[in-house]
Subunit: 340 residues, 2 copies
């Protein structure tokens, strides 16, 4: 057991795009667990777009990270010391322990993972928060019906890749929007979407959507906001549903950007647009995780991870995430997995 | 019975604000009813914002008015000749007969009105399409709960005035937004809204909304779109509902105007915005009309009409409606009411 470990704290609230200098990597003593607590060696740190919001000191559904505080984030790790009757040394656990190599767990979010079911990294991805976001956002907010067309932006990302595959399982036409040839090929050929539009190679996204969605768009799952979303909204069908999951294109904006006013078009089309937060569905995670696990086991649900090594790489990787540089669910591997 | 009558036809599709020259007043023979038809002398013509959409040759939930065709519109009139077994001369009827002094009725929209229940003009207003729009838009789309705050734009208009009063009946705080002192005084003092913001006298609508809605906005009923709606959207509460009824501020725009991108703010707040068309609720008009009639009878639901005389005034009145110049439900009186 090392005496010290590294963690990443927020040192400045960037108004626009974050820089590595907005974070500081600290070396601090490894903490000791108190009663009913465990010490966790973090193996995987999840990097997710929502973290940009936590860097702002603004009213939100969650409290911001304080200046000098460890960045928040979902983690998968190994229990290395335990004063908790429910967890023993060697247990693999998921919790929201933040950007650090060791951390104290024991709160209500701590849960044991069965490593025999799936690679433990998936507890930060397809079998974790992003997977649940896709599952509930599509099925409960988007409410697709067989034969309908589902469009999802950031289609190769942690959430988007799951959305399109569940849409296919539900009997829908699944159309992705992603940036670059490689991502689009993966979305179509590996994940089995019906089509994928490379927005970087398209100068008329409306026309590309019309071509990829000959029957229009019934469900649009929005991860990006901005001009990509504008194009999707212009091609919605009557009674379309828009699941508002995120707006990554806007997260670094210093003030609200402007765009075409499209809300008025929702009237005649009877469009419903609904924002959601995955934790609103927390009471229903259990059955959803079992369903997702079964789909993975049967080969119907695939996933791709983009793994960066070393906590010192986390700030740069996060900045890249906001630029769309990752390819698949972005994780930082902080240490080795235990031998099976 | 006159041999000829006047009607208003569309002669040009204006790209922006309509001009009187986009319409033509024609004098044509009074038509003769065929089998199962009635001849109606129109007494009231309803002028409504949706008609601007019918002047466009664009895909919509309803077909456009053709060039040279009579403008569409809701009407109240008197049966002056009948070959229909269900209607007799002297009956007062409501139908969608358009901008003309005489018209043939007999389609599925033709319905008899009981003049003893309320003034017959209300069949074009509080007890007609605008009233039903308010009723279903607020109750079925907005879904207000007692104690919540409901904000409605165009609050003195045909729909807005009803929305706020039903909100009050439901136990909500009702806040209107309207243009000018007189309209705001009417909304507060006569209709009983808790507050009304004069957007023409306010240079910080966000601050005015925060002051008028100390607990935030739970339901926003949108009739206008544009900057007024932006301000309302910025002040929504978590789990707020937005009933998208219309966007009158945008109807004369030649291309989508731009505005701040606010859809991303719907995510953390879990906002639901839903567009609706009143006719989607047509199967439920009966009970709604009985409820509205009872509220009128008991004095809980008031209404104001803005009546212009003569079909030749219809184009100018309609242009004024799009500018917000009317004060209350805008009607054109084409001829006298029958003596009781």
């Amino acid at each position: 057991m090392p005496k010290t470990h590294r963690r990443v704290v927020l040192v400045r609230r960037p108004p626009g795009e974050p820089a590595e200098s907005d974070f500081r990597i600290e070396e601090v003593p490894v903490p000791q667990p108190g009663p009913r607590e465990v010490l966790v060696r973090v193996i995987y740190l999840s990097l997710d777009p929502y973290m940009r919001g936590r860097m702002r000191d603004a009213a939100s559904y969650a409290a911001p990270v304080g200046i000098g505080e460890v960045m928040t984030g979902g983690t998968v790790g190994e229990v290395v010391a335990s004063n908790h009757p429910g967890f023993k040394v060697g247990d693999i656990v998921e919790d929201r322990l933040g950007w650090q190599e060791y951390a104290i767990g024991g709160g209500p979010a701590l849960r044991r993972i069965d490593p025999s079911l799936a690679p433990i990294s998936t507890a930060n991805g397809v079998l974790g928060m992003p997977g649940m976001t896709a599952y509930f956002g599509l099925l409960e907010v988007g409410r697709p019906k067989p034969g309908e067309t589902v469009v999802v932006s950031a289609a190769s990302g942690a959430v988007g890749q799951v959305v399109g595959q569940i849409a296919r399982i539900m009997g829908c036409r699944a159309v992705g929007i992603a940036g670059g040839d490689a991502k689009c090929a993966f979305v179509k050929d590996t994940l089995g979407f019906d089509a994928c539009i490379d927005y970087k190679a398209t100068d008329d996204l409306d026309a590309a959507l019309r071509a990829a969605c000959p029957d229009g768009i019934d469900v649009y799952f929005d991860n990006v906001g901005g001009p990509i979303t504008d194009a999707a909204l212009r091609n919605l069908n009557v009674h379309a549903r828009v699941a508002l999951c995120g707006s990554i294109s806007q997260y670094n904006a210093t003030a609200p950007e402007t765009g075409p006013r499209l809300l008025g078009t929702f009237v005649g089309k009877r469009v419903t647009a609904r924002g959601f937060i995955v934790s609103d569905f927390a009471a229903h995670y259990g059955p959803a995780l079992r369903q997702m696990g079964a789909w993975i086991k049967s080969g119907r649900l695939k996933y791709r991870e983009d793994i960066v090594e070393g906590i010192d790489k986390a700030p740069r990787a996060f900045i890249g995430l906001l630029r769309g540089e990752n390819f698949g669910k972005l994780l930082v591997k902080l240490g080795p997995e235990p031998r099976a």
